[in-house]
C-alpha cells in the first residue's frame, strides 16, 4: 500500500515536473515572440540613397578652392576632399577612426585634424599623433577633362 502511494506520488511529481518544463518553455517562447518584432523594429533599415561616384557641384568646387577642403557625402558616407599644397587632390573618409567625429584639414600644417580628441593624420591618412587607432580610409578622386571633380568609393 505504502509502496503504491510512493509510486503514485513519484509519477505525479515527474508529470508535474514535465508540465512545469513545458510551461517554462512556452513562457520563454511567448516572450521571444514579443521580443523579436520589437528588436527587429528598433534596428534601422539599411540606408538608401545615391551610391556610386559623386561629382562636386560648382559651389562645392568653389568652396574647395577657397578653403582647400570640403566635406561631401559619397554613398552616404562623409568624405573630406582636400587640395594639398602642391595642388594635388586627395579624398579620405571624414570620420575620425577614434570616436567618429568629422575631421578637418589644416592647410598650413598639411595635417588632417580631428578637434574632438586631438587626433592628427598625414596626407596619406596615416595617424601622426593622438588616440585614433586606424588610418583614415582613402577614396579615389579624379579631375575630369571638363574640370569637374569626381570622388568614387573605390579606394585609390
Amino acid at each position: 500500500m505504502q509502496e503504491q502511494v510512493h509510486t503514485v506520488s513519484n509519477s505525479t511529481t515527474s508529470r508535474r515536473h514535465f508540465i512545469d518544463l513545458l510551461l517554462g518553455a512556452s513562457i520563454l517562447g511567448w516572450l521571444a515572440s514579443i521580443a523579436y518584432p520589437v528588436i527587429r523594429y528598433l534596428k534601422p533599415l539599411p540606408q538608401t540613397g545615391a551610391t556610386g561616384p559623386t561629382r562636386l557641384t560648382r559651389e562645392e568646387t568653389a568652396k574647395l578652392e577657397q578653403d582647400q577642403f570640403i566635406i561631401v557625402p559619397v554613398s552616404g558616407q562623409r568624405v573630406i576632399v582636400l587640395q594639398s599644397q602642391d595642388q594635388k587632390l586627395l579624398a579620405f573618409s571624414a570620420k575620425c577612426t577614434h570616436e567618429g567625429c568629422t575631421v578637418t584639414y589644416l592647410p598650413g600644417q598639411s595635417v588632417i585634424w580631428c578637434p574632438c580628441h586631438d587626433g592628427r593624420y598625414d596626407l596619406s591618412g596615416r595617424v601622426l599623433s593622438g588616440p585614433p587607432p586606424k588610418p583614415l580610409p582613402e577614396y579615389a578622386v579624379r579631375r575630369q577633362p571638363d574640370g569637374g571633380i569626381v570622388i568614387s568609393e573605390e579606394r585609390a
Binding site: 528598433l42 534596428k43 534601422p44 540606408q47 566635406i71 561631401v72 557625402p73 552616404g76 562623409r78 573630406i80 571624414a94 570620420k95 577614434h98 570616436e99 567618429g100 567625429c101 568629422t102 575631421v103 578637418t104 584639414y105 580631428c114 578637434p115 574632438c116 580628441h117 586631438d118 595617424v127 593622438g130 588616440p131 585614433p132 587607432p133 586606424k134
Partner: protein, 480 residues
C-alpha cells in the same frame, strides 16, 4: 497659543485620530477615506517616523530631497518646453530658436530647465558621495544604494539625450562621440550603435530616438525607481553614521524635518531663478554653456575647443589619455572596459565593504571615496584645459596644462588629507596617496597617464598587502 493652534490646523491630518484597533474612525474627509482604505496605520507610521539626531551633522540628509526638488522642476519645465518643441530636421533647431527669441518667457523656461539639470547633477553627485562616505549603504540599506545608483545613471542619460534635442552643432558632435563609445561593447557593439542612432551615423533619426528616451522612457524609469528608493527610505529611515553617538530621540520627520526640507527647496528655487535670469545661457565655461549656436550640419567639420558637458569631461579626458592600441585591443575599448569596472565596483560597494556591514569603521572605503574624487577632479581639470594658455605647440600646451592641473589637484589633496585627519580623525590614506602619486607622476614628471596609474596602483597593492600581513601576524600570536 492662538498662533500655535492655527499653525497646526493645516496639518490637522497628522493629529491623533481615534485608535485604529477597531475604534471609530475620524469624521470628515479623512474619516471617509479611512473607512474605505484604512489609512490610519500609514499616518500612524508617518507620525512616528524620526530622523536620527546626534553628534553627526544633519546637512547630508537634505541632499536627496534637494535632488528630488530639481527633478520636479525638470518635469514641470520639460512639459512646458514640449509645448513648443518640434522634433524634425527642419524644425527642431528652429523651434528652440523661436522659443528663446519670440515666445514670452521662453528663454526663461529653457534657462531654468538647463540650470536645474546642472544643479540636479551637482546635488545628486553630492548626495551619492555623502552616502558613500557615511557608509549609509551598509546593510540593511543595500538596495537603497543600488536604486540610487540606477537613478544616477538615468540622470546622466537625461543629460546626454537632452543635449541633442536643440539639434545644434555642439550637440551633433557630442552625440557622435558619446554614442560611438557603445561600439566598444563586445559582440553587441555594432547592433547597439545602430539601435541607438537609428542608422550608421547621427541623423535626425537619432534625434527622434533620443527624444523618445528623454521625454518618455527615462522619465518612466526614473519615476518607477525613485518610488522604490523613497519607499525603502520611508520603511527603514535614514542611516546614522557608524561611529556617531545617536540621541535616544530623533527629529520628527513630520512636520519638523519636512518643513526644513520645504524651506531649503524655497532657497533652491530662489537660487535657480536668480541664475536662470542673470545667466540665461549658463556661466559660459566650457561644458556649461547652452547658447544655441549654429544648426547641426553633418557635412561640417568638428571645430576646435569642442567639449562635452562638465560631468562627462573626466570620461572625455580619459579617452584622450589612452593610446591607440593596448593589450591587442583598441584604446577606446580598453577605456570603456576600465570605466565599466569602476562603475561596477561602485554599484556593489555595499557587498564589498564587509567592515561597514558589521557596523565597524571601514577606513579603506572612506579613502576609496576620497581617492575617486581626486581621480575625477584631475581628469576634469585637464579636460577643461586649465592652464593651457599662452604660446607654444600643442604638446607643450598639453604638458603645461597637465602641470597646472596637477598642482591644483595636489594642493586640494593635501588640504583634503589634513582636513580628514583633523576633523574625521582618519589615519588610512593609501588610496588617496596612490591617486596623488599618479597625478604627480603624470602632471609634474611627464610620465604617461596610464603608466603613472599602473605604478601607483602597484604600489598601493604592495602597501595594502604588507599592512595586511603585518596586522594579521600579531593577531595570530595574540590568539595562541
Amino acid at each position: 497659543m492662538q498662533s500655535g493652534g492655527s499653525r497646526m490646523e493645516g496639518l490637522s491630518f497628522l493629529k491623533n485620530e481615534p485608535d485604529k484597533n477597531g475604534a471609530e474612525p475620524g469624521r470628515g474627509l479623512l474619516g471617509w477615506v479611512d473607512r474605505r482604505y484604512q489609512v490610519t496605520p500609514l499616518l500612524e507610521f508617518m507620525r512616528h517616523k524620526q530622523v536620527p539626531l546626534g553628534s553627526h551633522w544633519m546637512g547630508w540628509y537634505y541632499l536627496g530631497g534637494i535632488t528630488m526638488f530639481f527633478f520636479i522642476v525638470q518635469v514641470v519645465t520639460g512639459v512646458l518646453l514640449l509645448m513648443y518643441f518640434q522634433p524634425g530636421e527642419a524644425t527642431a533647431y528652429e523651434s528652440i530658436h523661436f522659443l528663446t527669441t519670440k515666445v514670452p518667457f521662453g528663454w526663461l523656461i529653457r534657462s531654468v530647465h538647463s540650470w536645474s539639470a546642472h544643479l540636479m547633477i551637482i546635488s545628486l553627485t553630492l548626495h551619492m558621495f555623502s552616502t558613500m562616505m557615511l557608509k549609509a549603504y551598509r546593510p540593511p540599506r543595500e538596495l537603497t544604494w543600488v536604486s540610487g545608483y540606477l537613478l544616477f545613471l538615468i540622470t546622466l542619460g537625461f543629460g546626454f539625450s537632452g543635449y541633442l534635442l536643440p539639434w545644434n552643432k555642439l550637440a551633433y558632435f557630442a552625440t557622435t562621440v558619446g554614442t560611438n563609445i557603445v561600439r566598444s561593447v563586445p559582440f553587441l557593439g555594432d547592433w547597439l550603435l545602430l539601435v541607438l542612432r537609428g542608422g550608421q551615423d547621427v541623423t535626425i533619426n537619432t534625434l527622434y530616438r533620443f527624444f523618445a528616451a528623454h521625454v518618455v522612457i527615462l522619465p518612466l524609469a526614473f519615476v518607477g525607481i525613485i518610488s522604490l528608493h523613497l519607499l525603502f527610505i520611508q520603511r527603514q529611515g535614514m542611516a546614522p553614521p557608524i561611529s556617531a553617538k545617536v540621541a535616544p530621540r530623533g527629529m520628527k520627520f513630520f512636520p519638523s524635518f519636512a518643513l526644513r526640507d520645504v524651506l531649503l527647496w524655497l532657497a533652491c528655487l530662489m537660487l535657480l531663478v536668480t541664475l536662470a535670469v542673470f545667466l540665461p545661457y549658463g556661466p559660459g565655461i566650457p561644458g556649461m554653456d547652452w547658447e544655441l549656436g549654429s544648426k547641426a550640419d553633418a557635412m561640417a567639420p568638428a571645430y576646435a575647443g569642442i567639449k562635452p558637458e562638465w560631468y562627462f569631461l573626466w570620461e572625455y579626458q580619459l579617452l584622450k589619455e589612452f593610446p591607440p592600441h593596448l593589450f591587442g585591443l583598441e584604446g577606446p575599448q580598453v577605456c570603456l572596459f576600465l570605466i565599466a569596472i569602476l562603475l561596477g565596483i561602485w554599484a556593489i560597494i555595499p557587498w564589498l565593504d564587509r567592515r561597514a556591514a558589521r557596523n565597524k569603521p571601514s577606513p579603506a572605503f572612506s579613502d576609496f571615496g576620497w581617492a575617486a574624487i581626486l581621480f575625477l577632479v584631475y581628469l576634469t581639470l585637464m579636460g577643461w584645459d586649465i592652464g593651457a594658455t599662452g604660446a607654444g605647440n600643442d604638446m607643450s600646451l598639453v604638458q603645461r596644462s597637465a602641470r597646472v592641473c596637477a598642482w591644483w589637484t595636489l594642493a586640494a589633496g593635501v588640504v583634503m588629507i589634513a582636513f580628514r585627519s583633523w576633523w574625521f580623525e582618519h589615519r588610512w590614506f593609501v588610496l588617496t596617496g596612490a591617486a596623488l602619486l599618479q597625478i604627480a607622476l603624470h602632471g609634474l614628471m611627464g610620465i604617461s597617464y596610464l603608466l603613472a596609474g599602473a605604478i601607483s596602483a602597484g604600489l598601493a597593492i604592495i602597501v595594502i598587502a604588507a599592512s595586511y600581513f603585518m596586522t594579521s601576524r600579531p593577531n595570530e600570536t595574540g590568539t595562541t
